[in-house]
Every structure is written in structure tokens, then in C-alpha cells.
């Protein structure tokens, strides 16, 4: 092989390898939306659907009872009171239930928070349908205020038989710095 031919061949391979490197760098970032899609489809990682599901009237499967437990916790830096009104409820698949969550802002300033849900076992997240949830939106609370936040849900009757208990956990994050205009307007009208 002549010298120039060798160089040309080298250049071709280098180009392909550099393209691969660029492609893999892009792939690293593409994993982010791919992961979201994957989680949504498989229920992987216990994320619930972040949108309301219409409460279609359906058969209530009274032969089965599933225990739904509620857990709340505060992320770092948010001193709110945040707890479910009941620790757990027993429901039949298909039955629509409302559970209230109590929130209070003990600080001297107006704050905005958002609750992020997670379900364990992760598999159950596919069958937990929320008709209404405070977690869909940011929650504004003026200084010293308390509120009751409703969460209306039902379990899909298709929920696998081996799931007899599921835990819905909410983590509350301080979103005051990133509040949407809509939330801020609510905060102002409440004062």
C-alpha cells in the first residue's frame, strides 16, 4: 500500500469512528426521553401517569380488595406540614375513591410546592388511575395557610391478582423559585 493510499484509508476509518463517537454522545442524551417513554409504557420505576384519567363507569370487582397505602415526605428545604388524612384505604378494583391530603405552610412567606408521586411495586403504577390529583399542578399556599388537597383515584380492574397492597408515596418539593404565572396568580387572588 502506498503512503497516500494508507493516509486516505486511515482518514476514512477515523471519520467513521468520530461519527460513532458523536452518535454515542447523542445517544447518551437520547436515553433521557427514551427512559421516560420506557417508564410510561412499562410502569418501570413506579411513575404514575401525570394526567387525569376520565372516570369511566366500570364494573366494580367486589370479589377482590386491594390495600392502598399513602406515604408523604418533604424534600430538603421545605418545612410544610404534609400528610394524608388516612394512612391506608381498602378498595375494590374499579371503585372510585377520594382521599384528602392536608398541607400547611407554617413559614412567614408565601410558598409554592409540587408533589411528585411514586408507586411501589412499580408494576402497580400502570393500574393506578387518578381522576383528579393535586400533584398535577403546583400548589400555592400563603404564609400560615392550611389547605385540603383532594386526590381521586380508582384501580384498573385488570390489576394483576398478586398485587394485594400498593403504596403511593408523595415527595413534596419547594417550587417557589420556579412557580408558574398561573400559580402566582392564584396566590395573589387568595390574599
Amino acid at each position: 500500500m502506498s503512503d497516500s493510499q494508507q493516509r486516505a484509508n486511515n482518514a476514512t476509518i477515523v471519520k467513521r469512528l468520530l461519527l460513532t463517537v458523536a452518535g454515542m454522545f447523542a445517544f447518551g442524551f437520547a436515553l433521557v426521553p427514551l427512559y421516560d417513554v420506557f417508564c410510561e409504557v412499562t410502569g418501570f420505576n413506579g411513575r404514575t401517569k401525570n394526567e387525569a384519567v376520565a372516570a369511566v363507569h366500570q364494573e366494580v370487582d367486589t370479589s377482590r380488595t386491594v390495600t392502598v397505602q399513602f406515604i408523604t415526605r418533604n424534600a430538603k428545604g421545605i418545612p410544610w406540614k404534609f400528610e394524608p388524612s388516612v394512612k391506608q384505604v381498602k378498595v375494590h378494583p374499579g371503585e372510585v375513591r377520594v382521599v384528602n391530603f392536608l398541607a400547611g405552610n407554617p413559614t412567614g412567606g408565601d410558598m409554592v410546592a409540587q408533589a411528585i408521586p411514586s408507586v411501589a411495586p412499580a408494576e402497580a403504577s400502570l393500574y393506578l388511575n387518578k381522576v383528579e390529583c393535586f400533584c398535577f399542578n403546583q400548589q400555592p399556599l400563603a404564609a400560615g395557610d392550611d389547605t385540603e388537597m383532594p386526590m381521586q383515584f380508582y384501580l384498573d380492574p385488570e390489576i394483576p391478582a398478586h398485587i394485594t397492597t400498593l403504596t403511593l408515596s408523595y415527595t413534596l418539593y419547594d417550587m417557589t423559585a420556579d412557580a408558574t404565572a398561573e400559580t402566582l396568580a392564584q396566590l395573589q387572588s387568595s390574599e
Binding site: 484509508n9 460513532t20 454515542m24 454522545f25 420505576n45 408494576e123
Partner: protein, 528 residues
Amino acid sequence: MSTVVDDIHHEEHHDHKPSGITRWLFTTNHKDIGSLYLWFSLIMFFIGGAMAMVIRAELFQPGLQLVEPNFFNQMTTVHGLIMVFGAVMPAFTGLANWMIPMMIGAPDMALPRMNNWSFWILPFGFAILLSSLFLEGGGPNFGWTFYAPLSTTYSNDSTALFVFSMHILGISSIMGAINVIVTIMNMRAPGMNYMKMPLFVWTWLITAFLLIAVMPVLAGAVTMVLTDKYFGTSFFDAAGGGDPVMFQHIFWFFGHPEVYIMILPSFGIISAIIPAFTRKRLFGYASMVYATASIAILSFLVWAHHMFTTGMPVFAELFFMYCTMLIAVPTGVKVFNWVATMWRGAMTFETPMLFALAFVILFTIGGFSGLMLAITPVDFQYHDTYFVVAHFHYVLVTGAVFSIMAAAYYWLPKWTGHMYDETLAKLHFWTSLISVNVLFFPMHFAGLAGMPRRIPDYSVQFADVNQITSIGGFAFGLSQLIFLWLAIKCVRGGEKAAAKPWEGAEGLEWTVPSPAPYHTFEKPPKVE
């Protein structure tokens, strides 16, 4: 062009090379760059080793004795980063630079200028990483795996330096890998077809493809950490719609192939040394090639076995468990091939062979503890305990590092033109072998008994086992000074080495004189 060729012919006898510091700064010679990489990795090995000594000194007794917990965390983190990216990977790149062109009959690496660049950015990368230890608040303290949110929400201000140093190391590895691939694909001597290449060349070719595939993903992961921490993105922050568990998926998509990057070249080294000192051909050459390729492909399908306790669905846990266990099959093929090579061979036990034999036995122990960790239900007990520490130190220290030592002893006569001091080398081997087992074997028991990793203090029932471990650690650290002394002694003088100092050695590198001339295979050799 013809004058250049004449020059080279003239100089073949004097073996002319430039002198002074500029020789090393501007060199494009694969042997010089190989030496730079090897010395650099040895220095990093001692720096990372010193950090391990701090860790073992703190753990000598229960309670906090010597260092602050935050500093302890920095030590575990930077020890890991230095050993992975500073010691093991550059040592393999150094060996690749020195040996691959000579093994395939090429005059140099295909892209010599890039080769210079890929080495010389490394010291800067590590200078950045190490300097962060001296800043207010300290260096990275979140473990070498830099899980979010430890590395985002809770990390200290020097995290940007960590990120930039990782970028530099990544770029260096990618350039090194590109060079290896182009050299192997394009520069082989006539007649050196793929299935005639030495296994070290094969394993490095596959390693280089792994590097190309996963180092960019690591670069992406550190970039996401950077923007999450400093620019308000929420890749790994649940409050903003991100997910901290996703960090672990992205990291281990890089991280698992990475651990094979650190072991596949070892397989090539051992496959060269065992036949040489057994005076037999390697058993099952083709199966070795296919086994290496299978391990590389499977390495992309097992990343979540690092994450069994994150709450994965049972189906995913089973999938990753079975894929992980599947890797034992090609790895077993390799171990059995090495054993079959030794079967009825005329074996002698010079130091390279001793390290190679220790590799086969101790790496297999590390493989078995890996299989135990692969079993999902029991991993819940072993996860984040010293059992994991014992496992990966068996595969990385008695695996990767022992194979690098074996390679150094095997090729030192070729590099320096002198035989190393066999008495010192035996002393180095036996002290290392005994101390490394005193160091890492008891960790299995500490882990099974529930001692968590990465914690500067422990419950008193672990005191005895930690004391033994620490004594082994100090002894192993001191033993490596013997190697430093031996290497310097060997460079400076010693018994003259023949072109082929090992009776049973095979390969083109033994057809050139020792020390290997500055330029070799200007004219391609004939390969039958």
C-alpha cells in the same frame, strides 16, 4: 521523500533519537509514548495507592481516628477514579502503544500526532482532579460512581473541576481507542490477517470499540451532572420532572462495559504469557477470539445488575440476572483454555508466568464472587457491603493489575534491553501474592457479615477483620515499592537481554533486537 528514506537507512545503526525534554513533549514515536503512558500509570498507581493507605489506616480501628468523614469520602472517591482512569486504563494504553505496532509488523501507530496529544492531555486532566482536593470544601466526595443527587444537589463547589477532568480523560481514551482501531485495521504487515493476530491485539481491538461506544455516554452523564448542578436543568431532579434512578441507568450503561475495558486486554496478555512459559501453542485460539467478542456484546446487556435494589420489576431483575450469568460461559471458555494450554506443557516459573498463574486463579475467585452477586435475591444482602469491594478488587487488582505486572516483566527485556533482577522480581511476586490475599480475602467475610462500604467508621464486631485487612493493605502497598526499585534498576542496567529472552515466546516483537530499536518494521516483515 527518497532523502527521508535514505536518512532512516543511515540511522538504523545509530538508532538516533532526539534528546532532552522536547523528545518527550513532542514525540510521535509509539515506543516513547508507550513509555510515557506506562510511567504515568505507575505514578498514578502510587498516588491512588497512597489514598488507599489513608483509607486502610482510618479503618484500622473502629471509631474516627485520623481523618474527617468528608475527607474519607474524598479518599474513596479519588482512589477509585485514579485507579480506574489513571492507573489501569493508561497502563493498558501504554502496553498497546508499545506492543501493537511491533506485534502486527507496523512501523508506528497510524495517527502519531494524535497519539502525542492523547497522552499529554492526561496529566492536565489529573492535575485538575487532584487540585480539587486542596480547594475549600474539598474534592469530589460522592464515590467514583458519582450518583445523583450526591453529585448534584449535595455535592461541593469543586464538582465542575471533577466534570472537566472526566471530560479530558474521556477525550484522551477516545483518541487512544481511535488510534488503536485504525492501526490494527490498516497497518498490519502483509500476511497478518485477522485470525493470525496475537490475542493481545485482538482483545485491544475489541476493547477499543467498547471505549468508542461508552466513553461518549460517560461524557454525556457528567455533562448532565454539570448542567443539573450549575445551570438549573433537571435531568436527575424529580422536582423538575427528572429522575435520579435514570442517572444510574446512564452511568452503568457506561460503567459495565468499562469494567470489561479494564479486563479484556488482560486476557490478551495472559494468552501471550502462558503459552510462552508452557512451550505450547495457545489452546483454542479461535474460541478465545469469539469469547472475547461475546463478553463485549453481553457487557451492554447487564448494566442493571448494579441496580437490583432500586426497585426494578421482577422481570427486569430476572433478565439482568440471567444475562449476567451468561457472561460466565465465555469467561469460563477462556479459563479452561488457559488451563488446557498448560496441560502437559513444559512449564517453567519465571516471574511473568507466576503473575499469570496468580491471575488465572485469583481472577477466577473474583469471577465467582461476581456470580454470587449476580443472583438477584442474595444481592439484596450483598449490595453496598464489603463483599462487593472484595469482588471488584479481586478482578481489578489480582486481575487487571497482576496482568499488567505480568506484562511488564514479560516485555521489560524488550523495552530496556536488560534482564530484570529475578530475585527481586520473585520477592515482589510472593510479597504481593500473600499480602493481596490478606488484604482482600477477609473483606468477603466482613461483607457477608453486613459491613457497609464507603463508611469511615464501623461497628466493633468488625474490628479484627479490618485490622487484618489493613495490615495486608500496608504490606501490599510496600511490596509495590520493590517493583518501582526493580523497574528503575532494569532501565539503568543489568544482564544484556537477547532478542528473544524467553525460550517459548512467539510473535514478531521477539524478531527485533532488545532493546527494540527506536524505529522497527520500517519495511514490513514477512508473515507466513
